[in-house]
């Protein structure tokens, strides 16, 4: 594995990624191997965040470095080089614009090889349901940071039921005010206490 590329992603070296990936390809390195190195870099960054060594700017930098590297690499990858562990749709529920926790969950999942569809913030129940139709995820994750907006999670589950989609997707919830008890109460399949638990939780549901 190309340790230099892995380190560059882990350290959020956005600025040199394009040159580094191009240079590695020019030297004849295997695109799939480079992708694995970039994924390993993301994982290292995620681990460092989990252990309190890295913070939000570092995570965002690693994510950006990965994106820059992928722009170069994507056309070179063969079909099947990038196997996804599964698809997860994420969003913050309606009335809530807190982005950070959800994005951290997205980062952790991406670094573990999942395809993440991030719907952003202030997402309506209808938009969640539409995303389930469009992307056919294995897991739908909802985030909420406010005790008032978290109540919208139940609306999303009801909307999935109303549209006959509930059985097609596992639903997980997270965010400071929610709890295992609340997850059970509204009929969610799982609850994560923090971003670090997200990968384990999603894996346990698949």
């Amino acid at each position: 594995m190309d340790e230099t590329i892995s380190k560059a992603v882990a350290e959020g070296n956005v600025y040199d990624m394009e040159d580094m990936v191009n240079s590695a390809l020019a030297k004849g390195e295997n695109p799939k191997g480079l992708l694995e190195a970039m994924m390993a870099g993301l994982k290292t960054c995620g681990d460092r965040f989990e252990s309190g060594e890295y913070f939000l700017p570092e995570l965002m930098g690693a994510g950006e470095a990965f994106t820059v590297g992928m722009k170069v690499l994507a056309p070179k990858l063969a079909l099947g080089d990038r196997t996804s562990q599964g698809t997860v749709v994420l969003g913050t529920v309606r009335g809530d614009v807190h982005d950070i926790g959800k994005n951290l969950v997205g980062f952790m999942l991406e670094s573990a090889g999942f395809t993440v569809v991030n719907l952003g913030v202030d997402v309506s129940a209808e938009a969640f349901a539409q995303a389930v139709r469009d992307h056919k995820p294995q897991v739908l994750g909802m985030s909420g940071l406010l005790t008032t907006t978290m109540l919208g999670m139940e609306d999303v589950i009801e909307e999935l039921k109303r549209q006959g989609l509930r059985d097609q997707v596992k639903v997980i919830i997270g965010g400071a005010p929610v709890s295992k008890k609340y997850a059970e109460q509204i009929g969610a399949d799982g609850y994560g206490n923090d971003a670090a638990q997200a990968v384990k939780l999603v894996r346990s549901l698949l």
Binding site: G12, V14, Y15, D16, F49, G52, F55, L56, P57, E58, M60, G61, E64, G95, D96, V97, H98, D99, I100, N103, L104, D122, L146, T147, T148, T149, L151, A176, P177, V178, S179, K180, K181, Y182, Y191, N193
Partner: protein
């Protein structure tokens, strides 16, 4: 509040000479300097969901009417049995002034107002935001409400809380773009050579972060000045940058890229505001207490952002070190019962939690102040009062 120094002096005299039972405010004041008779209780009224008090109150009404806020505050004061009930307005983050600077908030009946659009999209937008000459809009509402509370309840505590440069910047730039701005600026500043700096410029603008922070530093100073011009005292006021903490940024980045701006605000206001800084551990709390700026003022010891169990209680092993620090530094440990725990815990669970922390405070002989972080939907005013009664029962030193 009447002259706080005088009130403090009288309270201390009453306590030392055993001249009767301390009032809630007196207990609060005494516990700031010495061991009071029992643990104090505190509630920020704004953290009680309005419709739990009376369904006629909603955020639309409260964002339009000074009188509605005052009426709701009076009801909270009547119904909540805390030693001190403060923060008498329900305006969400509009209370610190961003709506008047261009941030667009959505105001709905049953959701606290929240920002949906930020005015700084590119560097040119920074110059469009002018330092206000006078308080207007929601900021003026907050000042008017505080002033009226001071007039109606001279014995009440008016805590002026306004944002520092980082939190204001988050509200004007957004919580996605500002951390990115910081990273680009940091990488540029710390780059070892010009070639790297040139590369960084291809990916972002390293100048936007200091330009925003310069603006918000001036804004923060001015907002506090406006508070004074509107008849409020800066004594006991707080300069808040709660989003400049972990996991948003490291302590090192905070000291390099945020703290210097906060120090400028603090100095420009003659060091009258408390520039507290929330941290997630007793170790960092101690570092803060030893800092010449962060160690100043009230509220330095709090479990506000400490790691929690999935049920929403601060990790129990953190409490004794915090109480030891409270004793050493002669301050109170503000132990927050988080809204999630208040909502989900049974009465016997709450009993065990409050009993534990109170007994520990008595053992350590350190001041404890128990506060409820929020009274959310699914909880009740009665449940909040249950917690406060438990403090009265178990909190004797």
């Amino acid at each position: 509040m009447a002259n706080p120094i005088l009130t403090m002096g009288k309270a201390l005299l009453k306590h030392k000479l055993h001249l009767g039972t301390l009032t809630g405010m007196e207990r609060f004041m005494v516990s700031a300097v010495t061991l009071a008779d029992r643990a104090a209780t505190f509630l920020a009224a704004t953290n009680v969901e309005p419709d739990l008090v009376d369904p006629k109150f909603d955020y639309v009404l409260l964002s339009q009417s000074v009188e509605a806020n005052l009426e709701l505050f009076e009801l909270v004061r009547q119904r909540i049995q805390a030693d001190v009930v403060a923060v008498p307005y329900w305006l969400g983050l509009m209370c610190v002034g961003p709506a008047e600077l261009g941030t667009v908030f959505k105001v709905e009946k049953r959701r606290v107002p929240y920002p949906v659009e930020y005015p700084i999209k590119k560097q040119e937008d920074i110059a469009k935001i002018k330092i206000p000459q006078q308080a207007t809009g929601y900021l003026k509402m907050v000042f008017d409400i505080n002033r009226e509370v001071q007039r109606r309840y001279p014995d009440s505590l008016v805590i002026l809380t306004l944002d520092g440069p980082w939190d204001l910047a988050m509200l004007l730039r957004g919580d996605h773009d500002l951390p990115t701005d910081l990273r680009i600026h940091r990488d540029y500043t710390e780059a070892k050579d010009q070639a790297t700096r040139d590369k960084i410029r291809r990916f972002g603008n390293p100048d936007i972060y200091p330009a925003i922070m310069e603006l918000t530093t001036q804004l923060s100073i001015r907002l506090f000045q406006l508070a004074e011009e509107n008849g409020l005292s800066l004594m006991g006021s707080s300069l808040v940058d709660q989003y400049a903490a972990k996991p948003i940024m490291s302590r090192e980045d905070y000291f390099k890229y945020v703290h210097p701006y906060r120090v400028r605000v603090w100095e420009a206001l003659d060091k009258k505001v408390s520039p507290g800084y929330f941290v997630p551990s007793p170790q960092e709390t101690e570092q803060n207490l030893q800092d010449p700026v962060l160690g100043k003022g009230f509220g330095g010891l709090s479990n506000y952002i400490f790691p929690q169990t999935p049920e929403g209680i601060t990790l129990p092993e953190y409490d004794r070190p915090m109480l030891e620090l409270a004793k050493t530094y002669k301050q109170s440990y503000m132990y927050m019962v988080h809204g999630k725990y208040l909502r989900d815990a049974t009465e016997s669970q709450l009993d065990a939690t409050v009993q534990r922390i109170c007994r520990m405070a008595a053992e350590v002989r350190a001041n404890l102040m128990v506060s409820i972080a929020s009274v959310p939907p699914g909880a009740s005013v009665e449940k909040a009062n249950y917690v406060f009664r438990l403090v009265e029962k178990y909190g004797r030193y």
